[in-house]
């Protein structure tokens, strides 16, 4: 058996990294947000920063908008990625070409994706120019109220990522299982809902969580393609921190975002475990 010290030595690089670069800043942010800051002005214990955050409508709008831009693109990406990942399990003409091409967005930086969307979908963009002679026009898609441009840009990158993970977990299901279900009287749709989906759920969960976390922190794409108002809470954080030097408020925003992210994870796990039960038994 490995000695306790050896175990700690082996764990140290990984755990130490987490504590140092994740735990420590989070702890400092928590302290700063209640006025016990080591970074900002130390005012003594106060909940003023949270009070300001939850009473000022521009911050509440920012919070709502942040949530919108985390949840909606995740759902949109999942809705697109899921059927494609399923389709890629079967053979069809041109599959090889498709499986190569769909990965291209993975290597394109997000900011480039944002510019692509801007060039294509903005008023006076390429698509508008093509449509104009036909008497057609695009709705406002860049800096618009519903953030269509942002959703397109981030989903364009997230869809192949999700397909890769979900496709991997679908491919790991033995082909005998759907076949067995078919011989027992299940049609294709039932096989998907009762066999493939529950068994691929760990992969789907992972894909959704990773993409969701990525969207929560997205900064550049919303800045480029988002509307003037509302601004994401992350953008307000940046302004509070660097333009108004109000570290306490910025930290409070950060803590609120972190709490929301954690809450979403908990809810998501609850929902998926219910789904697993409904689909016929506990998984693992």
């Amino acid at each position: 058996m490995m000695s306790r010290y050896a175990l700690w030595v082996l764990l140290a690089p990984g755990v130490g990294f987490l504590i140092l670069l994740f735990g420590l800043p989070l702890g400092m942010a928590l302290l700063t947000s209640i006025g016990l800051g080591t970074v900002g002005v130390n005012t003594g214990f106060t909940l003023d920063h949270y009070a300001e955050l939850f009473s000022n409508s521009i911050y509440l709008d920012g919070l709502r908008y942040s949530l919108f831009l985390s949840v909606v693109p995740t759902l949109v990406s999942l809705t697109i990625a899921m059927p494609l990942a399923v389709a890629l399990q079967s053979t069809f003409p041109g599959k090889k070409l498709f499986s190569t091409l769909y990965r291209v967005p993975l290597v394109v930086p997000g900011i480039v994706a944002a510019f692509i969307v801007m060039i294509l979908f903005d008023r006076g963009g390429e698509i508008s120019r093509i449509l104009k002679p036909l008497g057609l026009g695009l709705p406002k898609m860049v800096r618009d109220e519903w953030s269509l441009g942002i959703i397109i840009a981030v989903a364009w990158k997230a869809v192949p990522f999700m397909m890769l993970i979900i496709g991997g977990s679908l491919a790991s299901i033995s082909t005998d299982l759907p076949a067995a279900a078919r011989t027992l009287g299940a049609n294709r749709a039932t096989v998907f809902w009762r066999i493939e989906l529950p068994l691929a759920l760990p992969g789907i969960t992972a894909a959704v969580l990773l993409v969701f976390v990525g969207f929560t922190g997205a900064f550049a794409v919303p800045l480029l393609l988002g509307p003037i108002y509302p601004k994401r809470l992350s953008v307000w954080m940046y302004e509070a921190s660097y333009q108004e030097n109000n570290r306490g408020l910025a930290s409070a925003m950060g803590i609120v975002l972190s709490v929301i992210a954690c809450a979403v994870l908990v809810i998501y796990y609850r929902v998926t475990s219910d789904l697993r039960n409904a689909a016929g038994g506990e998984v693992r």
Binding site: L177, A180, R182, T183, L184, G185, A186, T190
Partner: protein, 337 residues
Amino acid sequence: MQSLRKGFGATLVVDDFSLHVADGEFVALLGPSGCGKTTVMRMLAGITPLGGGEISVAGQRIDHLPPERRKIGLVFQSYALFPHMTVGRNVGFGLQMQGMAAAAIKQRVTATLELVDLARFASRYPRELSGGQQQRVALARAIATRPQALLLDEPLSNLDAKLREQLRDDLKALQRRLGTTTLYVTHDQSEAMALADRVVVMNAGRIVEIGAPRDLYQSPRERFTAEFLGHINIVPAEPQNGGLVTPWGQMVQGKGESGPQNLCVRPEDLALTADPDGKGQITEVTFLGAEVEHRVAVAGLSLRARASGRAAPVMPVGTRVALSVPQDAQFLAASGA
């Protein structure tokens, strides 16, 4: 089944496979790995599309139906149990698909699990069971829906020898009790012979020979069958005076053949007696427990002889022996080569 055909790429995996299985019959498909027997089974179940030919059950064509409407149960070599469902839910899955009421499902699941002696494991997950238990769950799941026919694809090949034998006996008893028409795929000749009413010997995608186990073993028409069903001695014999004469000079009955023939003699049918003037000489002795095997060199051939029982003589290497084959234990191979 009529003239089933299936090819993958340029290779024809199954060619002109025709078989009629009677109601309640137990038929084994026997052949070496890769001979196409599993493909036949998957085509019957509808998992692998048919390359040609037709499949009928009780006079009704089923080859155009999707697998879920064929009412054919299939037990996979891998068992293919649903890992996220309990044993009870696995067995009840097919019943649920039939739209049976929950109470009736529960009853049928319990009854079916009792048949395979696993009723107390209904709330366990497949991963919590041993290989033999998983195999029985797979069987229970396939028979729970009372299919028109049951297909078993090497169901015992992942188990150890002793368990395999026990489950083989259980399986046969269960099949007799239920009277389900059963097609059993295996590469193990003793399994096929022990279980089946009829054995279909397959090679390279084609049926070599069909017959009752005893007939195929004792009087195969094809050399492939003779060799696949156990050890065999091929002894060239020359026609003489309406009979055939072996290299050691024994006359056996012929059927009026004109050219040289190949006699096929099972090792247990080749009798050896110590004789200083005998034509054969022992080259190897192997004690196998229930049997003693002697290797005999005679006229440039190396033959196997087996004797069983406590009284079976063990002759040392170098002993000269006389050979004899009983008249009724020998047969002619159809094509010789």
